[in-house]
């Protein structure tokens, strides 16, 4: 059945109607192409944004100090609330709180050889790496040993690292001694870090900074929680925590400011919700495109069969069996959809791979200044693409099958006399 003659018949039919074949094929290629580009772009956005949270653990909170907005118990509005040890004690007393990691901030000047740079030094616990999602690109982060022994070690940010190494003979800052506010620190790592302009950001062990500066006030407290799994749990917890802190610092429990309480869990759930919506949107568009492709194919098949009614009648008179006619029509549409679907697939994947490699080599899509990425790896799961192509082919054939079947059912004499 599927010998050389069979295929040459089909390719002859396609060649005979070159324009029609190409137009139909273009609709299919374009549909698949756009579907791939859309899905890839959606994936790129998702990979980019969620990549920023990827290293973070979800069950974490950050509390920032801030100014009040409402007057309360004789205090004027706009009072700055500084977090202190009482807040830490409060947090540690709550059963939902697992571990508190306060952030001690100290501004200063970092000096290495001839070079100096303004830095903000944060005294943090090892868990901070996971809470804030700090990315260490060289060396290591602060560990428990540093904490216990109050070692004078420091993790510097990428920009500071580059700045210090520039015009220097050194190739790495690892193990080098730097001076921060006159005290010597050993560099143990480089973080991708959140550096704002000229200001560098360094991390040192919490215990060390605390011992040196004896600070008791904090701009930022972070902690991990346990047993708070849903958005609702976290919202209830946030509200109660806000009330307790408000009582401690005597600001209105109704004040939305005073402190910022930020739940990583809620943020991440929100982000996921947004991406799910985007995903649904993309699929709706993609499916609509597929449908238009299928409609195109079935339309062309209907016209093809109509045009060939006469020929089909002649073939039947000469002894063609219904199966051979049906098969040749269905295979014709199968060949069109497969070839052009494949072309669209290759073009779409090719384009996105090119975009991807350009972005990777140029670093576009990631904001190095902020250490944040927006658009990463805009590619699509190949199985989804193959499935979409298969759906298109199958529905195209199914759509072409009905008119083919009808023409096969027509009596040969009627088909031959059809004009």
């Amino acid at each position: 059945m599927f010998n050389r003659d069979f295929w040459s018949e089909i390719f002859m039919a396609l060649k005979r109607n070159k324009l029609r074949t190409i137009l139909t094929g273009f609709a299919i290629s374009w549909g698949i192409f756009m579907l791939i580009v859309l899905l890839s772009a959606g994936n790129g956005l998702k990979n980019g944004v969620t990549g920023n949270f990827a290293d973070r653990i979800k069950n974490t909170y950050t509390i920032w100090s801030s100014s009040t907005e409402l007057p309360y118990k004789g205090h004027k509005a706009g009072r700055f609330i500084m977090l202190n040890n009482k807040d830490i004690q409060l947090l540690e007393s709550l059963y939902q709180v697992e571990e508190v990691s306060p952030v001690l901030s100290k501004g200063g000047t970092l000096i290495f050889g001839e070079k100096s740079r303004n830095v903000s030094m944060e005294g943090v616990k090892p868990i901070f790496k996971n809470i804030e999602g700090v990315k260490v690109i060289e060396g290591r982060f602060i560990n428990e040993n540093d904490m216990r022994n109050k070692l004078k070690v420091v993790v510097i940010d990428k920009n500071t690292n580059e700045e210090l190494l520039r015009t220097s003979e050194e190739t790495s800052m690892m193990g080098k001694t730097v001076y921060i506010n006159g005290l010597s620190f050993t560099v143990i790592g480089v973080s991708k870090g959140m550096a704002f302009g000229e200001m560098g950001q360094c991390y040192a062990p919490y215990s060390t900074i605390r011992a040196i500066y004896n600070v008791n006030e904090y701009y930022q407290l972070t902690f991990t929680t346990k047993g708070l799994d849903t958005k609702e749990d976290n919202e209830v917890f946030s509200k109660e925590l806000r009330k307790k802190i408000a009582m401690l610092h005597e600001f209105s429990p109704d004040d939305n400011r005073g402190v910022w309480i930020d739940s990583q869990m809620v943020n991440s759930l929100e982000t996921m919700r947004i991406f799910n919506t985007i995903n649904i949107f993309i699929w709706v568009i993609g499916i609509a495109m597929l449908i238009s492709g299928v409609v195109g194919v079935s339309n062309i098949m209907r016209i093809t069969v109509k045009e060939r009614t006469n020929e089909i009648g002649i073939r039947k008179a000469l002894g063609a069996k219904p199966r051979s006619i049906l098969l040749s029509i269905v295979m014709e549409s199968l060949v069109i959809t497969t070839i052009f679907g494949y072309i669209g697939m290759i073009c779409g994947i090719g384009l996105m791979e090119i975009v991807n490699s350009i972005m990777e080599s140029s670093g576009a899509g990631t904001n190095s200044e902020m250490g944040m990425s927006v658009f990463v790896n805009p590619t699509v799961d190949i199985s989804i693409v193959v499935m979409a192509t298969l759906v298109l082919i199958i529905s195209g054939v199914a759509a072409g099958f009905a008119p083919a079947w009808n023409s096969v059912k027509v009596k040969p004499i009627e088909a031959m006399n059809y004009r």
Partner: protein
């Protein structure tokens, strides 16, 4: 070869049309029969039933000893392919195939391989003086050439019976005479032939003339074509 018992056929349209009202006819092997009648007499319908291109409502039709009734599409296709050769007024050649490909097509449906198919088709084209036209498309051929191609196509499977529907209807008188001469020669090799025509001149070249009127056989006339000078009296 052909035996018809009380064949009835009605077209059910807005107005039911009883076109064949009990046809009884025997055609022996090797006979050359013409069916004559005015338009609307049912002669084309009868030929379509003989060719299994259309079905009938009542009666029995035996072709080469086999009852042709309620055949499946596949069986009908096989019967047409193996037993029957068709010649049409409008030739019914496939326009995008060459003369050779057109002639070879029935063999394709028999599953004959390409090489043998083309060889056999070429043989038949040669027989009708069309060897040099084998690679031409139908629109590059004259009416007579087209009909000769379709005769070659009808014969290529060595059928038992040739059915011709107004084979000279689209041809001028000279070409008609040539085509009829070819058909008579084909008949002389022993192939049964039924020709539908409304032209007396054509019917006169056959041995048996069946006159059809309003769906019934009016008369069957025996005829001796050798008495006729067909080159002069054809029209």
């Amino acid at each position: 070869m052909i035996k018809l018992n009380n064949i009835n056929k009605t077209y059910f349209g807005a107005q039911p049309l009883h076109v064949l009202k009990g046809i009884n006819l025997d055609v022996a092997e090797g006979e050359l029969v013409s069916i004559m009648g005015a338009s609307g007499s049912g002669k084309s319908t009868l030929l379509n039933i003989l060719g299994i291109l259309d079905n009938y409502d009542e009666g029995e039709y035996y072709l080469a000893g086999k009852l042709v009734k309620n055949l499946s599409e596949n069986q009908a296709a096989e019967f047409r392919n193996k037993l029957i050769g068709f010649i049409f007024q409008s030739f019914n050649l496939i326009p995008f195939k060459t003369a050779l490909e057109n002639v070879a097509l029935p063999l394709f449906y028999q599953g004959v391989n390409r090489k043998k198919r083309n060889m056999m088709a070429m043989e038949y084209l040669e027989r009708f003086g069309l060897k040099d036209w084998a690679d031409h498309y139908p629109n590059e051929l004259s009416g007579g050439q087209k009909q000769r191609v379709s005769i070659a196509r009808a014969l290529v499977t060595s059928p038992k019976i040739i059915l011709a529907d107004e084979p000279t209807g689209a041809l001028d008188s000279k070409t008609s005479a040539e085509v009829m001469q070819i058909l008579r020669e084909v008949n002389a090799t022993g192939i049964t032939m039924v020709i539908v025509t409304h032209e007396r001149g054509i019917a006169n070249l056959t041995r048996k003339i069946v006159h059809l009127k309003d769906g019934i056989i009016e008369s069957i006339e025996e005829n001796d074509p050798d008495k006729m000078d067909f080159t002069k009296e054809i029209k």
